[in-house]
Amino acid sequence: MSNVTNILVAGVGGQGVMTATEILAEAAISLGHDVKKTEVAGMSQRGGVVTSHLRFGLKVLSPKIAPGEADIIVGFESAEALRWSHYLKQGGIVLMNTARLEPPVVSGGLYSYPCDPAAQIRASCIEVIAFDAMAIAKQLGDLRLGNSVMLGAIADYLPFPAEVLLESILGRFKARKPEMVELNRRAFTAGRDTIANLVPAEA
């Protein structure tokens, strides 16, 4: 279905992958899209792989994105962006956090972590935008802002205005933690600006 936008968000349990996708879904709903969202996260908080599939458009049938059909892959973690990169369609884009989270099997020496996941994805002629979202979040004073930084980073690659996504983030915090609204606005803007500054340099 060509009228459907497919966004695959990938990361590690505990990173906020599911929340980020939920916020993207809310933004799409606010514009009247039909939406389906599914994840593979059996033991999501146990440090395992988490992927969240978001599909929106006029009418969404299967909730699952097929390999080769994702318009955007949002990688919350470097190796996870690489792991799912074959889900990207031709002409799609990978936006990824350069953070590396080594699981115990890597740290314990059973497997090795890829040297440069972003470069490895680029080698398949895929457009990759990689940046350190956690560093930005840390600078703003709270690692949990990483989620809003990531959403800010993809905001200008969506088929709807960035402001719609921002509203959907802030709407969440207005209801639950009003004191966090301003910080998240700054995180979103920081993510968005970082990408805007990165892209011309790479082109």
């Binding site: 279905m1 115990p104 740290s107 020496g109």
Partner: protein, 623 residues
């Protein structure tokens, strides 16, 4: 979640299948709902606890949950019972006679199969239960259908006085989709009507009910033939016609938009008449059903030619990328690659299996168990199943909930002469122990088994996301409930008081000593640990630690704990005095992920682990 009822009905909302079903159950005027937590079914009852005007409970296991629902139905009230696929195995005893009594108040049993095994020990097909128990079975394909089907299921349940199985899969339960919801229609209880011929299943009374059960099945088949839940989506490309149910329906629609397809929502008893009529309109028939070829076999038995598992896998989901090449083969076409794919082959990346959390109270248990020589360890179902993984490799057998007990006894009684010196251990969690482990312990004490039991009470059902149970002192609503005393239970089940020990799982030397002692004593003993799961509110974080790199000698002692907050930053090969080569592992602690449990302190030979200066910490507990 609390916001669900606040939304003015009718409204359109983004709901998971589980949330949609909870909404449908509430709207249907259900009075009693019960479940034992289990992925992917857990959130149905969690959500129901947010709705007013009904009673919802965590039951101790699925069999009890179903019995509660049966009782409420006999009382004349609408009742609801939810469980994961393996839960219905536990409840099967009740189910197989419930089909004889039938239901008074509408009774719907939601059973969620874990197709693809996201968090289960097997991948069984619960549609068999409809056939085995001669019960009607409905299969939604998304959240909206799940919501709608609940109302239909209650109507069918009361019209035919029969419990209805609502068969779900992970791809229904955990997919969020748009749902138009309605309003609650109260449904008053009809009241209990004394009728032993109906409700007391002695052989004499049951015999009469068996004939009625078969009669009912034929009436249900006629109802399925007419049901709007079984409908045809017209299509022009008649080379292949599809029959699909559950999430496979959406995948068929996605993969073959131009093809005629018959959707089976009321899939058992299968509407063979409708299927036969549909088959006549297409060149070839392909049955697209996840897991077992149940519809396929019934369709073939009715003399209708079809394809199915000759082309499609019997395991896992059937998404478009599986369906398209299979159908291309059927049509003799070149199987489509994924032409739009940017990268054809998946990248080779290390596995990232789920693991125990930083500071998890189970870490020290498995660190210790792995260091007790000459053991056979029977494990159980829960977070602590992860003890089978790296670096502990501490479990030797895991089958189903409560099985650690019986298996340990069998390992003891069935041991070979060569295994005579082996120590038999069983590891079980608090909720699993109450679910199905207590009977096994009774069997161990009754039959004088030589087993050491580790009862890991982390004060929650951890793996499913932290649900309450009789050991937490709270019920489904989070309100105070009588709290089980595990020491007293073990005593009552026949373990001698001297052989029951409570140990702090963070005190490694104490834990090691207790395990050594108890495994050397040839009688049942229970070691109970009771520190809370790090993901629940009761867990109190301590100041984080860090590794002083100047002091770290690379001994690797802390790495063996298996804490995900500890990582190796550098490896060095060195020659020992003996001439053997050894690898030094210099470690670091991710301070933000460290909960300050202190487990890594005692294995650190050079005492290089020190309290970190205050840094910002990631809080695992959901606020």
């Amino acid at each position: 979640m609390a916001g669900i009822q606040a939304v003015a009905a009718p409204a359109r909302m983004l709901l998971s299948g589980n949330e949609a079903i909870a909404r449908g159950v509430w709207e249907s005027g259900v009075r009693v709902a019960s479940a034992y937590p289990g992925t992917p079914a857990t959130e149905m009852l969690e959500n129901l606890s947010h709705y007013p005007d009904l009673y919802a409970e965590w039951s101790v296991n699925e069999k009890v949950a179903l019995e509660v629902a049966i009782g409420a139905s006999i009382a004349g009230s609408r009742s609801f019972c939810a469980m994961k696929h393996v839960g219905l195995n536990v409840a099967a005893d009740a189910l197989m006679t419930l089909t004889l009594t039938g239901a008074a108040g509408g009774l719907v049993i939601a059973v969620a199969d874990d197709v693809g095994l996201s968090s289960s020990q097997n991948e069984q097909d619960s549609r068999y239960w409809g056939r085995f128990a001669h019960l009607p079975l409905m299969e939604p394909a998304d959240s909206q259908e799940a919501y709608d089907m609940v109302a239909t299921a209650y109507a069918v349940s009361e019209q035919f006085q029969v419990p209805v199985i609502l068969r779900l899969t992970t791809r229904i339960c955990h997919v969020k989709a748009m749902v138009s919801v309605g309003k609650r229609v109260p449904h008053d209880s009809a009241g209990f009507v004394k009728n032993p011929r109906r409700w007391v299943m002695t052989p004499g009374f049951a015999r009469d009910r068996i004939a009625l059960m078969f009669e009912r099945e034929e009436q249900l088949r006629a109802a399925a033939e007419k049901s709007p839940l079984n409908f045809i989506a017209a299509g022009r490309d008649r080379r292949v016609g599809y029959i699909a149910s559950g999430p496979a329906w959406m995948h068929v629609q996605e993969a073959f938009p131009g093809a005629p397809a018959l959707k089976l929502g009321f899939s058992y008893p299968a509407p063979i008449g409708k299927i036969r009529a549909f088959a006549r309109t297409v060149d070839q028939l392909l049955v697209v059903e996840e897991l077992e070829p149940l519809l396929e076999n019934e369709i073939k038995a009715a003399g209708i030619a079809c394809h199915g598992k000759d082309l499609l896998p019997r395991q896992g989901e059937l998404p478009p990328e599986v369906l398209r090449p299979a159908v291309a083969r059927l049509l003799g076409e070149v199987p489509p690659g994924t032409p739009a794919t940017a990268r054809l082959e998946p990248a080779q990346v290390f596995p990232r299996p789920p693991t125990l959390c930083g500071g998890c109270p189970h870490l020290g248990i498995y660190y210790t168990v792995a260091r007790i020589p000459n053991t056979i360890v029977a494990g159980d179902i829960g977070c602590y199943t992860l003890g089978s993984g790296h670096p502990w490799n501490a479990l030797d057998a895991v089958v189903c909930m409560g099985a650690s007990m019986g298996m340990a006894l069998g390992l003891d009684k069935g041991r070979a002469e060569t295994d005579k010196g082996k120590k038999i251990l069983a590891v079980i969690g608090d909720s699993t122990f109450m679910h199905m482990g207590m009977q096994g312990l009774l069997d161990i004490t009754y039959n004088r088994g030589n087993v050491t039991i580790l009862l890991l009470d982390n004060r929650t059902v951890g793996m499913t996301g932290g649900q309450d149970n009789p050991g937490t002192g709270r019920n489904l609503y989070g309100t105070p409930a009588p709290k089980v005393d595990f020491v007293k239970i073990c005593e009552a089940l026949g373990v001698r008081p001297e052989r029951i020990r409570k140990v702090d799982p963070y005190q490694l030397p104490v834990l090691f000593k207790a395990l050594r002692e108890e495994t050397l004593i040839a009688e049942p003993s229970v070691i109970i640990t009771d520190r809370p799961c790090v993901l629940i509110g009761e867990f109190k974080r301590q100041p984080s630690y860090r590794v002083d790199p100047d002091k770290c000698s690379g001994c690797g002692g802390c790495v063996d704990i298996g804490c995900p907050a500890i990582s190796v930053v550098r490896r060095e090969k060195v020659a020992r005095r003996t001439g053997k080569e050894a690898t030094l592992e210099f470690a670091a602690i991710e301070t933000a992920a460290c909960t300050g449990c202190g487990l890594c302190l005692s294995p650190c030979a050079p005492k290089a682990i020190v309290v970190a200066t205050p840094v910002q910490a990631i809080n695992f507990v959901k606020s």
